[in-house]
C-alpha cells in the first residue's frame, strides 16, 4: 500500500504582529482629490495600538505559508461525516466573481438588480422542486440560522392559532444545533431516545398537546433513512404539531425522494453541503428554508417574488417583496449570503436533473462500498442499509487504542479524519461520509489505510497514541488552552 501522507518541507511562520516593522506599507490609495477634513480632536484616537505594519510581500508570504498547514477537499479525501465535503467546482468560483454579480449593492433598486433577483428566484424555485416544498426563503446565513428561521415559523404558526405549546421533541441522534435552536425559539427540549430510526410508537408516546414540533434529520445522523417518516408526520399533524427536518443530509435524496412529499412541514438546506459551495474553513454557508403552502405567510422577508410564471416571466418583473404582517421578520441585514447562492445555482445548472440524482446515487454507493470493505474490521453498530454515510465504532479495536487514535493516525496516512464521537448515541463513533466525488481508487486506498491502522492498533498501539507525527504540529494541549485561554496576541505577551 502506498501511504499518501509524507513529510515535505514545512515552513515555520510567525504571527503577523511578530513580522511588523514601523514604516512598512502594504497598500496604495489614490491621492486625495478634495480638501482634507478633520473631526474634533476629542473624537479621534492616536493610533491603533498593536496594528501591524507590513509590506505586500510580507502579507502574501505569510498567508501562503499558513495555507500550506491546512488540509482541504482539494488536498485529498475528507470523509467528515454529516459535513458533505464534496468537491467544490471551480466554475462556481468564477461565476460568483463576475463583476455584475459580485459588485452589486444590496440597496440597489429592484429595476436595476433584475439579474441577481432572477438568479435568486431561479435558485429558490429549483430548491423547492428538489425538496418538494411550496416555497423557499434564501435569507438564512447558515444551517443553524435556517433552523432558527424554520422553528420561528413553526412557532408563529402556532401562535397565530392561539396555540401555546411549549415543547419540542428531538431524537438524541440530532445535531447539537437542533436543541440549541429549539431553546432560542423559547421551547423546552424533550429528547427522545431512539434505537437507529424513530418508530411510530416512540413518537406516539411523547406526542401530546403540549408538543409544538418534532425535529428530525432524514436521513438521520446514523446514515439511516427514517422509514416511518410518513406515519410519524401524520401522527404529529393529527395531534396538532409540526415536523421540522434538518436537511444536512439531503445529499442522499436528490431526485430520489422529497422531504415535502413525506409530510415534513419545514426543512433547511445547507448549500455548503449538498450544493457544493466551499466550507471556507468554517463558513460562509447558506441555509435556505423550505416550507409547505400553509406556512408561507410566516417566512422571513423580504423574499424574491416574480410577477409571472417562474423563469419564463417578464424581464423586468422580479422584485423584493417586503415581509407581510405574519412574517417572523428579518434574519439578516440584507438578503442572505448571495455570493454562496450564486455558487449553488451554478452547481445546479452544471449538474442538471439527472446529474443531481446521479450524485445522490453515487454518494450512497460510495458510503455502502466503504461499509462493505470495513465491516468486520471495525464494529458496525447499525446493520440496516446505509445511505450517504456509515457509522462505525471503536468497540472491536484491540488493545488500548480508541477512535481518537485512529483519527489522528489517519492524518499520518494523508487523510482528513472522519467525524468522531458523533452521534453521541454511538460510543466511540467514527462517522464516514465519502460523498459522490471520490473515486473507487481513493476509497480503496482509504479503506486499506483504515484496515492497516486496525492492525497497528493491535500490533503497535504506540504508533496510534503518538500520531500524528507527520503534521505541522503534534497533538495539542487543549486542556491548558481552555483553562488559561489566550485568545489574542499581545505586545510582549
Amino acid at each position: 500500500m502506498t501511504i499518501v501522507g509524507t513529510s515535505g518541507l514545512v515552513l515555520n511562520e510567525k504571527l503577523l504582529f511578530e513580522h511588523s516593522d514601523p514604516g512598512r506599507k502594504g497598500y496604495s490609495l489614490p491621492k486625495l482629490d478634495v480638501p482634507s477634513a478633520e473631526l474634533p480632536a476629542e473624537l479621534c484616537r492616536q493610533e491603533i495600538n498593536g496594528f501591524p505594519e507590513l509590506s505586500e510581500v510580507d502579507v502574501v508570504r505569510h498567508f501562503t505559508r499558513l495555507s500550506t498547514w491546512n488540509y482541504g477537499v482539494d488536498s485529498g479525501f475528507y470523509p467528515l461525516g454529516s459535513c458533505t465535503m464534496k468537491y467544490n467546482p471551480k466554475v462556481n468560483e468564477a461565476a460568483a466573481r463576475i463583476p455584475g454579480l459580485a459588485g452589486i449593492h444590496p440597496a440597489t433598486p429592484s429595476h436595476l438588480s433584475q439579474g441577481i433577483l432572477e438568479l435568486m428566484y431561479r435558485l429558490q424555485s429549483a430548491l423547492a422542486e428538489i425538496s418538494g416544498f411550496a416555497r423557499v426563503t434564501l435569507q438564512p446565513a447558515a444551517g443553524a440560522q435556517g433552523e432558527l428561521a424554520g422553528m420561528l415559523v413553526i412557532r408563529a404558526w402556532h401562535e397565530a392559532r392561539g396555540s401555546k405549546r411549549t415543547k419540542v421533541l428531538i431524537p438524541d441522534t440530532a445535531h447539537g444545533t437542533n436543541p440549541a435552536t429549539a431553546s432560542l425559539t423559547g421551547y423546552d427540549v424533550m429528547p427522545i431516545a431512539s434505537e437507529g430510526i424513530l418508530t411510530l410508537e416512540e413518537v406516539e408516546a411523547h406526542m401530546n398537546d403540549d408538543v409544538a414540533a418534532l425535529m428530525v434529520t432524514n436521513p438521520n445522523t446514523l446514515g439511516l433513512f427514517e422509514s416511518n417518516i410518513e406515519a410519524i408526520c401524520k401522527l404529529v399533524h393529527e395531534r396538532g404539531g409540526m415536523v421540522y427536518c434538518d436537511g444536512a443530509n439531503l445529499n442522499a435524496l436528490m431526485g430520489i425522494a422529497r422531504p415535502g412529499d413525506m409530510g415534513i412541514d419545514v426543512m433547511h438546506f445547507n448549500l455548503h453541503k449538498t450544493f457544493s459551495t466551499p466550507h471556507g474553513g468554517g463558513g460562509p454557508g447558506s441555509g435556505p428554508v423550505g416550507v409547505t403552502e400553509e406556512l408561507i405567510p410566516y417566512l422571513p422577508g423580504p423574499g424574491v417574488e416574480c410577477d409571472g410564471l417562474g423563469v419564463d416571466c417578464d424581464k423586468e418583473s422580479y422584485r423584493l417583496e417586503s415581509a407581510n404582517a405574519d412574517s417572523i421578520g428579518r434574519m439578516m441585514a440584507f438578503h442572505g449570503n448571495v455570493g454562496i447562492m450564486v455558487r449553488a445555482y451554478a452547481y445546479i445548472r452544471s449538474m442538471g436533473p439527472e446529474g443531481l440524482k446521479y450524485a445522490s446515487e453515487m454518494a450512497v454507493l460510495n458510503a455502502n462500498y466503504v461499509r462493505a470493505r470495513l465491516e468486520g474490521v471495525y464494529d458496525l453498530p447499525y446493520k440496516s442499509r446505509s445511505l450517504h454515510e456509515v457509522i462505525f465504532s471503536d468497540k472491536d479495536l484491540e488493545g488500548s487504542c480508541h477512535t481518537l487514535d485512529v483519527a489522528k493516525r489517519l492524518i499520518d496516512y494523508g487523510y482528513h479524519p472522519p467525524t468522531i464521537y458523533f452521534p453521541l448515541v454511538v460510543k466511540g463513533a467514527i462517522m464516514i461520509e465519502p460523498t459522490e466525488t471520490e473515486s473507487r481508487e481513493i476509497l480503496d486506498e482509504f479503506c486499506d489505510a483504515m484496515i492497516s491502522i486496525a492492525g497497528e492498533a493491535r500490533d503497535n498501539p504506540d504508533l496510534l497514541h503518538q500520531a500524528p507525527i507527520r503534521s505541522k504540529v503534534r497533538r495539542l494541549d487543549e486542556t491548558t488552552a481552555a483553562r488559561k485561554p489566550k485568545l489574542r496576541w499581545e505586545e510582549g505577551g
Binding site: 477634513a37 429549483a126 422529497r258 445548472r349
Partner: protein, 449 residues
C-alpha cells in the same frame, strides 16, 4: 459528469461488492410511497461555456459601482479591495477546508482566526473577540441575548439611530424570548437622544444598543452613553456597521462599551448584493465565557511548539445542546480571512489614511450638496462618511431622475423612518472621485429637483 469519477465498470464492481444488483436497491429503506417517480423538473445541465454565458447575461442586468456612480451605503460599503485578497483566499487549502476540528492539519485556518481575533481586539479596544458571526445584524442580536443572559434582565433599549435592519434582526431573534424591546429617540443632531434614554433606562434594562457611527453617519457620544447605561447596571452594546471609521475614531472599548459588534464587510469584501459579509463580536475580559460563537486559543503541542485550537467549546451547541450560549455552529471563516488580510495590508497607517479620505470626501460632498437649492442637511452632529439629505421635491422622483443619468444617489429613508420620508442617505467613500461628487451635485442643481 466531470465532478463524479465513477466509470460504468466501477459502478458494477462496487454494487457487486456491496451485494446489491442495482442502484435502486441501495435505497431499499426508502418506502416506495415517498419515492419520486418522475425526473426532477429542472433545466437540462449547462456546459461550462453555456453556464458562464448565462451568468454573465444575468450580471449585465445589474447596476454596480462599475456601471453607475454609486453613493449607496447604509450598512454595505463600496471600498477599495486589494488584489492580494482574492489571490490569497483562492488558495484552496483555505477555502475547501472545513471548520478546524482537527487542529494538527488546520493550523493555517486557526492561526489566521487567532490573528483576526487579535486585530478586532486592537481595533475595538476590547479584550477578546470571537472567530466571527454571520453579519453585523446577527452579531447585534447575539449581543442582546448575551447581555440578557449576563444581567438576567429582560428589557433592551435600541437607539432608533442604529441601522433599522439591525433592529429588525434583533426583534426576530428575541421574538419568543419574553424580552421587551424599546426604541430610544434620535436627537436633533442625529445622535441618540440622551434625555429619552435617561427616561427609559431602569434597573430591569439588560442592554442599550447604539451605533458608532450610527445609521445616519453621525458619531455617537459613546462615553456619555456608557456613563448613563452603567449607572443603571446595564451593558452598552455598540454596533459598528462601518469599521473604516475606527481607523480614526477612538475605540468603543476606550469609551466604555461593554460589547462591540459590527460588520467587517468594509474590510475587503465585495458588496455581493448583501452577503456573505462578516460580523465581529468583542467583549471585556470578564465576559469571555459568556460569548457566543467559535473561539481560537493559543497552546502548545507535545513537543512544545506553538499551535492553535478551537477552545472554550463548553459554551457551544455541540457540547451544551439546549443550554448553549447560542445555536451558531459555523463562523464566516473565509470572510474573516479576507478581513484579516485587508487589515494586514492596510495596517496602522493605511486604515487611518483610508478613514481620513472617507471623512474628507464625505465632508466635501456634504458641503457641496448643502449649497444646492431645494436640498438641505438634516443632522449637524459630527459625521463620518454618510449623511442625510432632505429634499423639497419628492425623494422617489429625485432618485429616479438621477438613475437616468447613471447616478445611484442614496437610500430613501421614508420606509424605515416616516418622519424622514423626504430624506435620503448619502454615502461617500474613498472610491468616489471628485468628478463623481461634482456630477451628483450638478445633476441635483440641473433640475433633478
Amino acid at each position: 459528469m466531470r465532478y463524479i469519477p465513477h466509470t460504468a465498470g466501477d459502478v458494477t464492481q462496487m454494487l457487486e461488492r456491496v451485494g446489491v444488483a442495482t442502484l435502486k436497491d441501495l435505497f431499499v429503506e426508502v418506502p416506495e410511497s415517498v419515492r419520486l417517480k418522475r425526473p426532477l423538473d429542472l433545466q437540462e445541465l449547462a456546459s461550462e461555456t453555456e453556464l458562464l454565458r448565462e451568468f454573465k447575461a444575468l450580471a449585465a442586468k445589474n447596476a454596480t459601482p462599475e456601471t453607475h456612480k454609486s453613493f449607496l451605503g447604509g450598512g454595505a460599503y463600496h471600498h477599495f479591495i486589494p488584489t492580494v485578497i482574492d489571490q490569497l483566499i483562492s488558495r484552496s487549502e483555505f477555502y475547501t477546508a472545513y471548520t478546524p476540528y482537527q487542529p494538527e492539519i488546520s493550523q493555517g485556518t486557526l492561526q489566521a482566526v487567532f490573528e483576526f481575533q487579535s486585530l478586532i481586539c486592537q481595533l475595538t479596544g476590547m479584550a477578546a473577540a470571537n472567530a466571527s458571526m454571520y453579519d453585523g445584524a446577527s452579531a447585534c442580536a447575539e449581543a442582546v441575548l448575551m447581555a440578557m443572559r449576563l444581567t438576567r434582565r429582560k428589557r433592551v433599549l435600541l437607539s432608533r439611530a442604529i441601522n433599522p435592519r439591525y433592529r429588525a434582526v434583533v426583534a426576530t431573534y428575541c421574538r419568543y424570548l419574553n424580552l421587551e424591546l424599546v426604541d430610544v429617540a434620535v436627537a436633533d443632531d442625529g445622535r441618540t437622544d440622551l434625555d429619552d434614554l435617561k427616561a427609559k433606562l431602569d434597573d430591569s434594562t439588560a442592554a442599550v444598543v447604539a451605533g458608532y457611527p450610527n445609521y445616519f453617519g453621525v458619531i455617537e457620544d459613546v462615553a456619555a452613553l456608557a456613563e448613563q447605561v452603567h449607572g443603571a447596571g446595564a451593558r452598552l452594546v455598540t454596533a459598528v456597521a462601518e469599521p473604516v471609521a475606527l481607523g480614526l475614531l477612538k475605540s468603543p472599548g476606550e469609551l466604555g462599551a461593554d460589547i462591540v459588534v459590527g460588520d467587517a464587510q468594509s474590510f475587503g469584501l465585495p458588496l455581493a448584493f448583501g452577503g456573505p459579509y462578516v460580523g465581529f463580536f468583542a467583549v471585556r475580559q470578564k465576559d469571555v465565557r459568556g460569548m457566543p460563537g467559535r473561539l481560537v486559543g493559543e497552546t502548545t503541542d507535545l513537543e512544545g511548539q506553538r499551535g492553535f485550537v478551537l477552545t472554550l467549546a463548553t459554551r457551544e451547541q455541540h457540547i451544551r445542546r439546549e443550554k448553549a450560549t447560542s445555536n451558531i455552529c459555523s463562523n464566516q471563516g473565509l470572510c474573516a480571512l479576507m478581513a484579516t488580510i485587508f487589515m494586514s495590508l492596510l495596517g496602522k497607517q493605511g486604515l487611518r489614511e483610508m478613514a481620513e479620505q472617507n471623512l474628507a470626501k464625505a465632508a466635501y460632498a456634504r458641503q457641496q450638496l448643502s449649497a444646492v437649492k431645494g436640498f438641505s442637511l438634516v443632522f449637524n452632529g459630527p459625521a463620518f462618511n454618510e449623511f442625510v439629505v432632505r429634499s423639497e421635491a419628492p425623494v422617489a422622483e429625485v432618485l429616479t431622475s438621477l438613475e437616468k443619468v447613471g447616478i445611484l444617489a442614496g437610500i430613501p429613508l421614508g420606509e424605515d423612518y416616516p418622519e424622514l420620508k423626504d430624506c435620503f442617505l448619502v454615502c461617500v467613500t474613498e472610491q468616489n472621485q471628485r468628478e463623481e461628487i461634482d456630477a451628483l451635485v450638478a445633476a441635483l442643481q440641473g433640475g433633478a429637483a
